[in-house]
């Protein structure tokens, strides 16, 4: 690669992306790569054909990737590895075994290594799968009717409109929920033969004729008198439901891993100390102050579940929102440093989760009366 060509290339790319993105969209000559900002939603979306959420699907994909890696790395294992995958696996395992032995000060740290290593690998692989291209951008287009019913079920102001009406025929359904009518839909271009819609870059002057515009749900009603089809002259208006979405952007996944970690910590504590001694840490009846301290420790144990959950969820969800916002502002070039940041944060958060589980486990098996 010729060195004198790299800097002008990136400079041209940077200027093109500023002019073409959202900032340039305010000027009449710019905005040629612009796209409407994606719809950000907190809970995972349930895929209509299957019964589960897109975050569950991504978790299974990342588990499949991890199991493939482990299977290939441990096939034909040799004492002195000459394959690269086995080397990488040994580096990771050795790092965690050394860490466990250093922090716990001896051989008793080895019992923590299986769970800690599993948590690290699961979290890091699912974080990285969430950054891959195609995750969050390929999916099913929900029609206007579906978008309306989502919002209608969730909003308190809309509930009263539906109870009085008759449920006999769907054709006479009244769309009276004002707030659900104001939802934004994106106009996609449809390829006529296959059932594929795509979002062309650029925001057209006529937002219905060209693809990539944004319409309101009530525009779809007014255009056709009915909302079910969402068809606008060969385009389709709807909202994208991504079929893959990073697994840790869902609160359920992180809560599950946090619960497993804390239950394992209790298990290690009880199996090492016996239930009387371990329970005596929290319910210490020797003096009122110690009782209070013990109860605070119990509350701290429960607070650890919450803190684990929200740390991982917040980092991953904020990363996803950041990538979406950067794709909107600076189309080609703005996302590059943030992809790097996401990869780094993925590793760091997985490391933090596993190290904290290890440290809580070591604290749980330690016997304070030995000093």
């Amino acid at each position: 690669m010729n060195k004198s060509i790299i800097l002008p290339f990136f400079l041209i790319l940077f200027i093109t992306s500023i002019l073409g993105g959202a900032i340039g969209g305010a000027f009449p000559f710019g905005g040629f790569f612009q796209s409407p900002i994606a719809h950000i939603q907190l809970p995972g979306e349930v895929i209509p054909g299957l019964g589960f959420t897109n975050t569950s699907l991504t978790l299974w994909v990342s588990m499949a990737a991890l199991l493939t890696f482990v299977f290939i790395a441990t096939r034909n294992m040799k004492s002195v590895p000459n394959g690269r995958l086995q080397n990488i696996a040994e580096v990771i395992v050795e790092f965690f075994v050394n860490l466990a032995q250093t922090i716990s000060g001896g051989e008793k740290g080895r019992r923590f290594v299986p769970l800690v290593l599993s948590i690290f690998l699961c979290v890091v692989v699912s974080n990285w799968v969430g950054v891959l291209p195609g995750v969050g951008t390929i999916g099913i287009v929900e029609s206007a009717e579906v978008v309306y019913s989502h919002k209608e079920h969730k909003t308190d102001a809309c509930h009263s409109s539906d109870h009085g009406s008759d449920h006999s025929s769907d054709h006479s359904k009244e769309y009276t929920c004002k707030e659900a009518l104001k939802e934004h839909l994106v106009v996609f271009n449809k390829i006529p033969g296959l059932g594929i819609s795509y979002l062309p870059p650029g925001r057209g002057e006529d937002k219905i004729k060209n693809g990539g515009g944004v319409v309101l749900v009530e525009d779809v009603i007014n255009n056709h008198g009915k909302i079910e089809s969402g068809e606008l002259e060969g385009k389709s208006a709807g909202r994208l439901l991504p079929i893959l979405r990073g697994a840790n952007t869902d609160l359920n996944t992180t809560l599950a891993i946090a619960i497993v970690a804390m239950v394992a910590v209790q298990f290690w504590g009880i199996s090492a100390l016996g239930i009387k001694k371990y329970g005596g840490k929290f319910f210490n009846f020797s003096s009122p102050i110690m009782l209070f301290v013990g109860l605070l420790e119990l509350i701290a144990e429960l607070a650890r579940v919450v803190s684990f959950t929200f740390r991982l969820f917040g980092n991953m969800f904020a990363g996803e929102v950041l990538l979406v916002a950067m794709m909107f502002l600076l189309p080609f070039i703005g996302i590059i440093p943030f992809m790097g940041l996401e990869l780094f944060v993925g590793v760091i958060q997985a490391f933090i989760f596993s190290i904290l589980t290890l440290i809580f486990g070591i604290t749980a098996i330690s016997d304070h009366s030995e000093h």
Binding site: T155, F310, F351, I352, L356
Partner: protein, 88 residues
């Protein structure tokens, strides 16, 4: 009038939540890193343990800022009946 008050109040409260919530952890991480640099300058051989413990403590502190961010996101996207300022 009701829409104006409640729509803007929700956006404002989300901004205040994350703005004030990021003050403390920002200061904390700065102080942590400063002390770690100091310790590293005094004893360059202990780089491994110092670095690992620093990263651990930074993750704890940053979690507080993440809690504030999660509350701000919940206020914007989940809570209430009126929509906040819409995009595009």
């Amino acid at each position: 009038m009701g829409d104006f008050i409640f729509g803007d109040l929700r956006t404002l409260s989300a901004a205040i939540a994350i703005g004030l919530g990021a003050l403390g952890p920002g200061l904390g991480i700065g102080m942590l890193a400063g002390k770690a640099m100091e310790a590293l300058g005094r004893n360059p051989e202990a780089e491994g343990p110092i670095q690992q413990n620093m990263i651990l403590a930074i993750a704890f502190t940053e979690a507080i800022a993440i809690y504030a961010l999660v509350i701000a996101i919940i206020i914007l996207f989940v809570g209430g009946t009126t929509p906040p300022a819409s995009f595009s």
